[in-house]
Each structure stands twice: as structure tokens, then as C-alpha cells.
């Protein structure tokens, strides 16, 4: 197995001295009190990715996003001028949830010319303006100008729609994302419009699942089947090629010989027969010159980039396609998980089958990751242990929990001063 060079300090972790090397606590993942703090300190302050522009193909296209951790719902819409706007999903009359379909707690999407409240029929334009009030003359000095939908700060980067629930965001989206993430500008995410979308409701804190996808140390133990048994080497480890931190965000890159360049016995028969598998299709249509932010460690041969965008978004860039995860907290020990595999649209059955294989294999191994969650959460909640060691391959886990703690501490400090 290739050994990748580490920074001059001797480890990725020590390259970033502010994160330390000591034992860490997972109290932040079991404490209901800490969860209450995260609602305000993180989910009402950070920019949150709620979708992609492809979900709003034309004027009047909309979707709703339940942000339960912030006790709110947001409606995102393509307005009459072609821009993307977001509003709190609350009617100005008597506070009914404005946009929902069969059940108010379920997300919905569609197309409309205006939003009509189910309760008393008030109507709002795509720009949020209150356009119609039933029996307007019965009200007292009601100026419709003053009763438009409450806007939510909404900005788009690379086709990813973000909202910020703060009254005034502390940073623009671009500044929040920082140089490491925005160096992906120009990557053709917009070409990858064939989506396989997955959802799960998991019984763990949101950070526990994010942790499982920001280290590869667990791969040989939890996912031994990723290597066919005939060529599996007991006791072999997994070493990533590059780690990088930038503000609250993280990236890890893998490297090494690509799966399909290995001898055939390193693949399962279904992979050889379909030319796709664990790391996706062997070939994807060319996408041109990659942006400088891709493969920031200039790893050769490069495998994938796994960007962890604070707080709850993860984008994994493969060759010609990408995979996206979001972790939405629903309580201190549950979360809602979203995943999307995004390919350039198939033009042949062969290509479509390649995508299907990638999507099926993805789910198999994600089920193994998810299978650990209930056990991890309940064991952490038992309180038997309160300090845990992390190794250098788990540097991103260390950084993530530190950033969460920093954001909460920062919020508490500012809150105390007020």
C-alpha cells in the first residue's frame, strides 16, 4: 500500500496545532442541552445548503425545506425575474404554514403562479408580496405592503442554494465558504443532472454520522467486503493521501491505483460485467479542465475529494460525477440523512446501468455505516466513557467537533455580553 507523505510537523493533526492531539469528548453528541445550543449557535448562524438550482427549472418552481433543528420551514422559489428567493413558510395572517401538500410536516415541491394559504386564502406573489386578501374591507387599516412573506437570506454558489436563518448573516456566503471551497468554482456540477436521491432517518446525533464519512480509518474493519475475499489482506490499513482544513470546512483526498486498473480479481463479477461499481463508473464523459480547487493536494493518481462544508453538507467529487450528503438534526440523538448521486445524464442503457450499479453499491456500504449508529449513540449515552483517542487519519473528526464547540462557545460569549 502506498504511503503518502505527511506534513513537515510529522502528522496532519500537528500541522494544525490549534486542534491539539489530546483525547476528545463526544458529550456534544449526547447532551440535550448542547443540542439546544446548536440550534441557535450553528443552525441559525451558518449558511445551510437546502438544494440545487436544478430543482427550480422555471419561474414559479418551488420547494420547501423543513429545518427542524431551527424549528422552521423555508420555501425556496424561482421568482418572476429568474432569481432564487427564500421565505419563511409562514402566512402573515394568522401564522398558518403557507406551502404544504398533504401533511404540513412533509416537504413538497412543484410549480405555481402564486402561493395561496389553505386557511383563509391569502395569496402571495413569487416575490413574497401579499397580493390578495379575502374580504380585505373587513380588516382595519391593513396595508398589504406591510404583510409580505418574511424573506430568508438566500444565496447561490456553484448552483448550490444556501439559506441563512439569521436576521443579518455575519458573512456573505462566499466569505463563509472561504478560499478552499470556492476554488471549486467552475466545476460542472450543472452538467450532473441525473440524480439518484436517498433518505434515511437514523437514531444518532447528526455529527456521529458525519464522522463516519470523514475518515476512512474504519474502512478495512467495517467494510471488508469492499475488497473481494480472495485478495483481501487481513490487517491492512487505509491511508488517505491529503487532508486540509480551511476555517470551519475540511477536505480529504484519497489516492492510489484506481479500482478498475487493478487485476480483475480485485473486482466483483458484477463490476467487471457492467464496468462500474464501488467508486462509480470506470469512465464518464470528459468534463474539461478541472478547477484549481479540485484535488488540492495534487495527488497522483488521484481518487476522490471529500469536502465537508460546515455545518452539515458533504460533497464527494469522483471522476465526472459527484455524491452529496446532508445531515439534518431532528433531536439530540436522531437525524434525517439525505444523499444524492449526481451523474451526467446517460445516453445509452449501458451508461444507465453503470449509474444504477454505483447507486446500488453506494447504498450497501452506507447501510453498514448506518448500521453502527444506534450502537454508537446508545453506548455513548451510557456515559461509561467521556474521553476518546483519535488518530491522524481521523483528523477531520477532531476538527469538526472542535469547530462545533468553537461556534457554540462564540455564541455563548456574544450572548452573555448582550
Amino acid at each position: 500500500m502506498a504511503r503518502w507523505p505527511k506534513p513537515a510537523e510529522g502528522s496532519w493533526t500537528e500541522h494544525y496545532p490549534e486542534i491539539g492531539t489530546g483525547l476528545i469528548s463526544f458529550e456534544d453528541s449526547v447532551s440535550p442541552e448542547f443540542y439546544e445550543l446548536e440550534r441557535e449557535a450553528i443552525f441559525r448562524r451558518a449558511w445551510l445548503n437546502v438544494g440545487r438550482v436544478e430543482q427550480l427549472p422555471r419561474k414559479g418552481s418551488y420547494f420547501t425545506k423543513e429545518v427542524r433543528v431551527a424549528r422552521t420551514s423555508v420555501v425556496v422559489v424561482r421568482d418572476g425575474g429568474g432569481g432564487v428567493r427564500a421565505f419563511f413558510n409562514v402566512c402573515r395572517h394568522r401564522g398558518n404554514k403557507l406551502v404544504w401538500d398533504e401533511f404540513p410536516g412533509e416537504e413538497t415541491s412543484g410549480f405555481c403562479r402564486q402561493f395561496t394559504c389553505k386557511y383563509h386564502g391569502w395569496r402571495y406573489g413569487l416575490d413574497g408580496a401579499l397580493n390578495f386578501v379575502q374580504q380585505e374591507g373587513e380588516f382595519f387599516d391593513l396595508d398589504k405592503e406591510d404583510f409580505g412573506l418574511v424573506p430568508v437570506h438566500c444565496e447561490v454558489w456553484a448552483g448550490f442554494i444556501f439559506v441563512n436563518l439569521a436576521r443579518e448573516p455575519e458573512q456573505s456566503l462566499h466569505d463563509f465558504l472561504g478560499p478552499m471551497v470556492t476554488a471549486l468554482d467552475g466545476y460542472p456540477f450543472d452538467k450532473m443532472t441525473e440524480w439518484y436521491v436517498f433518505r434515511a432517518d437514523n437514531r444518532s446525533n447528526w455529527k456521529i454520522f458525519a464522522d463516519a464519512f470523514q475518515e476512512y480509518y474504519h474502512v478495512p474493519a467495517l467494510h471488508p467486503q469492499q475488497v473481494p475475499i480472495e485478495v483481501r489482506t487481513p490487517g491492512s490499513g487505509f491511508e488517505c493521501a491529503h487532508f486540509q482544513l480551511d476555517g470551519p470546512h475540511r477536505v480529504v483526498s484519497t489516492g492510489g491505483a484506481r479500482r478498475w486498473t487493478l487485476p480483475p480479481e480485485y473486482m466483483y463479477p458484477i463490476e467487471r460485467a457492467t464496468r462500474s461499481g464501488l467508486v462509480g463508473p470506470w469512465e464518464s464523459p470528459e468534463i474539461g479542465e478541472p478547477p484549481p480547487g479540485l484535488n488540492p493536494g495534487r495527488i497522483d493518481p488521484w481518487g476522490i475529494d471529500n469536502f465537508q462544508i460546515f455545518p452539515n453538507l458533504e460533497i464527494l467529487i469522483y471522476r465526472g460525477w459527484y455524491l452529496l450528503y446532508r445531515y439534518w438534526p431532528t433531536s439530540h440523538n436522531t437525524h434525517h440523512f439525505e444523499a444524492m448521486l449526481c451523474f451526467q445524464p446517460a445516453t445509452t442503457v449501458q451508461e444507465r446501468v453503470e449509474h444504477e450499479v454505483a447507486a446500488v453499491v453506494f447504498k450497501e456500504f452506507a447501510l453498514q455505516d448506518a448500521g453502527m449508529l444506534t450502537g454508537t449513540q446508545t453506548a455513548l449515552e451510557s456515559g461509561v466513557l467521556d474521553r476518546f483517542p483519535l488518530n491522524d487519519q481521523e483528523v477531520l473528526v477532531r476538527h469538526f467537533h472542535k469547530v462545533v464547540a468553537d461556534w457554540v462557545a462564540d455564541y455563548q460569549k456574544n450572548h452573555a455580553e448582550v
Binding site: 434515511a200 463479477p269 450497501e364 456500504f365 447501510l367
Partner: protein, 111 residues
């Protein structure tokens, strides 16, 4: 033959069509979980040697204009992919150590 479900060249797979021609991943995953390894092994052994031929047959048509029998053959290919996870990789219906985990596919391209 009027009750033929698959293209003529794949007649020996007709016995599997009623069970495994399923339009969505949700149905295919549920069928896999409800099947014995013996049932899946029989299907896999019968179809795997002809997988590439089946894809090539479907690819004689445009992806967005597959005739009904080719569309069902493609669904059978998807089911073979599903079953191969149990037969080739895990040697049991569900992924090893997936415990109580469930992940639902809620959107996918058609066909």
C-alpha cells in the same frame, strides 16, 4: 406468443420475469429482502452469463424509447445488480452488519 414479457432471444428468463421485473429500486430491494439465497442464486446463475448481451440488446434502441419487452429486460438487469450484492458480496440477503439501518431511494431516473 402473446403473454411473452421479455424479448424473444431471452425466452429462458421468462420464469423470472414475473418476480423480478420491478420498476423501482424500492421494489427490488424489498423483493431481495423477502427472497431466500437459493431463490436469488437460481436467478443469478440463469441470468448473469447473459447480462452483457441483455444490455447490448437494450442498446439497439434509444434509451428514451425502449419497447416494452426491452424495458422489462432492463428492469431484470437492475434486479440482477440488486441480487448480485447478496450473491457475490455479502452471502446473505442484507449487507453484513447493517443491523437495523434502512435507506430509502426516493428519486431515480426512468427507465
Amino acid at each position: 406468443m402473446t403473454d411473452r414479457l421479455l424479448p424473444a432471444g431471452f425466452a429462458e428468463l421468462e420464469p423470472f420475469a414475473g418476480t423480478w421485473c420491478l420498476a423501482t429500486e424500492t421494489e427490488r430491494y424489498a423483493r431481495r429482502m423477502a427472497s431466500s439465497m437459493e431463490e436469488m442464486r437460481t436467478f443469478y446463475d440463469a441470468f448473469f452469463p447473459r447480462l452483457e448481451e441483455a444490455v447490448a440488446h437494450c442498446d439497439t434502441f434509444p434509451l428514451d424509447a425502449l419497447p416494452e419487452d426491452a424495458r422489462r429486460l432492463l428492469q431484470l438487469v437492475y434486479s440482477l445488480v440488486m441480487v448480485s450484492m447478496s450473491i457475490e458480496i455479502f452471502h446473505q440477503p442484507k449487507a453484513v452488519d447493517a443491523a437495523d439501518a434502512e435507506i430509502e431511494r426516493v428519486r431515480e431516473p426512468v427507465p
